[in-house]
């Protein structure tokens, strides 16, 4: 007999419920549920029914391209969460990251690969700084990070827009195209995926996934971060520098989101863009982190799933279904993950009736109370 539901199962159930929700909405509004599956197949491998059996790897490439940044923001949110912080600020960190990488790309002439690396590092650094602010305020003044992050998202957007517009050659909506030396674009990757925009960002993401897993599970630094996340008091009693850990973890989280910004601007667009409204990379990251159960591989898979949902949107719209269906599905999945306590309760009601010492659950709530503490308060 299992004691509790494993996080992976909860994720799978949530994803399933989210898709079912989407299908139900489709049917209620009078569309064929096949639209969803068609779009999914096409987004995944370019498979279409009217051109039967034809595959197009460009779709695969583009779907991966759309997943790359949200895998990174997912890692960002998850990294902070493992240290007890809610990083709802990835959105802003992505934007300042993109801005910084573009600044270096345009303003600092460097040779070849070094240029690209410098740009990527700049993006990560800018994100880290944006993450440092809530981390510092939390550890120094115990200020709830959620509100600070939300406010920094907007400030980050306006701030980056201002900077990008001020760069030489910028128009009101975008910068000049970055020099090739700074670009992450790859002719090779593009050619094997039928001219998609697949780029070296994929390497960055791979490294980030590995680093996430390695730091948290294999290093003593990760050990202390995890201890801080689970029980800050005990970690402090054990001599760990928990305040510093909170700051570091928010900086690393910020850096991961900043990398997402770099990948978007150096890889996908090859220029800086003035952004009018959030593009939801950060909020998708929250979904990805939770659905991925804060586990490196889980986050990668969840990121791919949400990336796929994103590329499906226009395809479904082409079939007449409002493209917002994908957003409803994504939000539904997050909502279901949030309701995991309810899911567990529901399943246990249907499932076994026998009760077993399960002090675990009671204490679990207690701990959670401490950890999730906060809300909008000073």
């Amino acid at each position: 007999m299992k004691k509790t539901l494993s996080p992976i199962k909860i994720s799978l159930i949530s994803v399933g419920l989210g898709l079912v929700l989407g299908l139900i909405i489709l049917v209620i509004s009078g569309y064929s549920p096949m639209v969803l599956f068609n779009a999914m197949l096409r987004g995944l491998v370019g498979f279409t029914f009217d051109n039967f059996g034809n595959f197009n790897l460009r779709n695969t490439g583009e779907f991966i391209v759309s997943s790359l940044p949200i895998i990174l923001t997912g890692l960002s949110v998850a990294f902070a969460y493992r240290t007890g912080m809610f990083n709802i600020g990835a959105e802003g960190q992505v934007m300042v990251g993109a801005c910084a990488s573009i600044c270096v790309a345009i303003l600092v002439p460097l040779p070849g690969v070094i240029h690209a690396i410098a740009c990527v590092v700049a993006g990560a650094l800018a994100g880290a700084i944006w993450g440092l602010i809530p981390g510092f305020l939390k550890s120094r003044y115990k200020i709830n990070e959620v509100v600070v992050c939300i406010m920094l998202n907007y400030f980050g957007m306006y701030f980056s827009n201002f900077i990008l517009k001020s760069l030489p050659g910028s128009s009101i909506s975008k910068t000049v195209i970055i020099p090739e030396s700074a670009s992450l674009s790859s002719d090779f990757l593009s050619s094997i995926t039928n001219n998609s925009r697949l780029n070296w960002g994929i390497l960055i993401v791979g490294l980030a996934i590995f680093a996430y897993w390695f730091i948290l599970n294999k290093t003593s630094f990760g050990f202390s971060l995890r201890a801080t996340g689970f029980n800050e008091d005990a970690a402090q009693y054990a001599g760990m520098k928990t305040k510093r850990n909170v700051i570091y973890s928010m900086m690393i989280a910020g850096a991961l989101a900043g990398l997402a910004g770099a990948v978007i601007s150096l890889g996908t667009f090859n220029m800086g863009r003035v952004i009018g409204a959030f593009e939801n990379y950060g909020f998708d990251g929250i979904a990805v982190a939770f659905v991925g159960a804060f586990n490196a591989i889980g986050i990668m898979l969840a990121g791919l799933l949400f990336g796929l949902l994103n590329v499906m949107a226009p395809l479904m719209q082409a079939a007449g279904v409002p493209k917002e269906i994908n957003q409803i599905i994504s939000a539904g999945i997050v909502l279901f993950v949030a309701m995991q306590y309810g899911i567990v309760l529901l399943l246990s009601k249907f499932g076994k009736k026998k009760k077993k010492p399960d002090k675990i659950e009671g204490d679990g709530n207690k701990i959670e109370n401490d950890k999730v503490e906060g809300g909008v308060k000073a």
Partner: protein, 316 residues
């Protein structure tokens, strides 16, 4: 001075939804549930208001916008019930639940918009809330043109709501009980207060006010509904709540102040000293100020203590 008098009515138009939404946040957080879904609730309320106004105008004529905002408020209330259920009954993390609702709001609103109106935005409102001038009062020097001349009556609704909220929170039994649930729910429970019920009331009221704010905002600042009508005002309202120290009057003053910061960029060209500054500077004001306020208040605990904490009565 003249310019200031010109700016004032414009600032009040922006301030009205901010204040009302902040009051919504106040009810929710005072009861112990943080509500970062305000932005989403406003959006859903705005959509419902727009839809009702457009579909019902033939029947109700010029009165329709008022029915519209009421519909918006009710729909906002219903929408917030999800947040209440998930965070109170299912004991979910209130922040995640809020994030999910914000994500869902654009999805649902635009999806329905596409179904009903066949597009990402609604047609124009056939009827509008009319601006009014209050006789006699409008002739008072300075105050007249600031508040009572050619202005939307919705601002007076906001002020009335502030006063009602103040009265409810600090003078009545309901308010005392609601606040106790946000401070120390275990104490409330031991005094026989149904914490879950009070929190439900808090969140649903918050949804009602959020929906109302969204409805008023879409009707007074736009001629149609689209996904971008709220553009962050729900989050500004959250900041307003922090900056106003979770107090209704604080929300009112901060709301008007943030209303000013929303419109000041429009007038900056005419104000010496501000004319050179980039618009991004002005847009950033509410957000940056909120962070500064948080730092200033950090030492004093001004927010409800138990807000955001899951309350578990212990029994099953």
């Amino acid at each position: 001075m003249n310019l200031f008098l010109q700016m004032f009515p414009a600032a009040l138009i922006m301030a009205t939804p901010i204040v009302i939404a902040a009051l919504g946040g106040l009810f929710s957080e005072r009861s112990g549930v943080i509500n970062i879904a305000l932005e989403g609730i406003m959006l859903v309320g705005a959509f419902a208001t727009a839809t009702a106004t457009i579909l019902l105008s033939d029947t109700f004529g010029n009165f329709t916008p008022w029915i519209g905002v009421l519909v918006g408020a009710i729909v906002g209330c219903a929408y917030s019930a999800i947040h209440a259920f998930v965070s109170i009954n299912l004991k979910a993390d209130q922040t995640i639940s809020g994030v999910a609702l914000n994500m869902l709001s654009t999805g649902i609103a635009i999806y329905l918009c596409q179904l009903i109106f066949d597009g990402q935005r609604t047609p124009n409102f056939p009827t509008n809330i009319a601006k009014i001038s209050v006789p006699i009062l409008k002739d008072i020097p300075i105050l007249g043109p600031m508040f009572f001349n050619n202005t939307y009556p919705t601002f007076f609704i906001a002020v009335a709501l502030v006063l009602i909220t103040y009265f409810l929170m600090y003078k009545t039994r309901f308010g005392l009980r609601l606040r106790s649930c946000g401070e120390f729910p275990q104490a409330s429970a031991s005094m026989g207060i149904n914490v879950a019920k009070m929190r439900y009331i808090g969140v649903l009221t918050s949804g009602f006010l959020g929906g109302l704010a969204g409805g008023i905002m879409v009707l007074t600042t736009n001629i149609q509904f689209s996904a971008s009508v709220i553009h962050g005002v729900g989050f500004i309202a959250l900041g307003c709540l922090v900056f106003g120290k979770w107090h209704p009057l604080g929300c009112l003053f901060t709301g008007v102040f943030f209303g000013f910061s929303e419109i000041i960029s429009s007038y900056s060209g005419n104000i010496p000293g501000l004319s050179g500054l980039p618009t991004e500077f002005f847009y950033s004001i509410p957000y940056v100020l909120t962070i500064i306020a948080l730092i200033l208040f950090a030492k004093r605990s001004v927010g409800p203590k138990a807000a955001g904490k899951i309350y578990d009565a212990g029994q099953r």
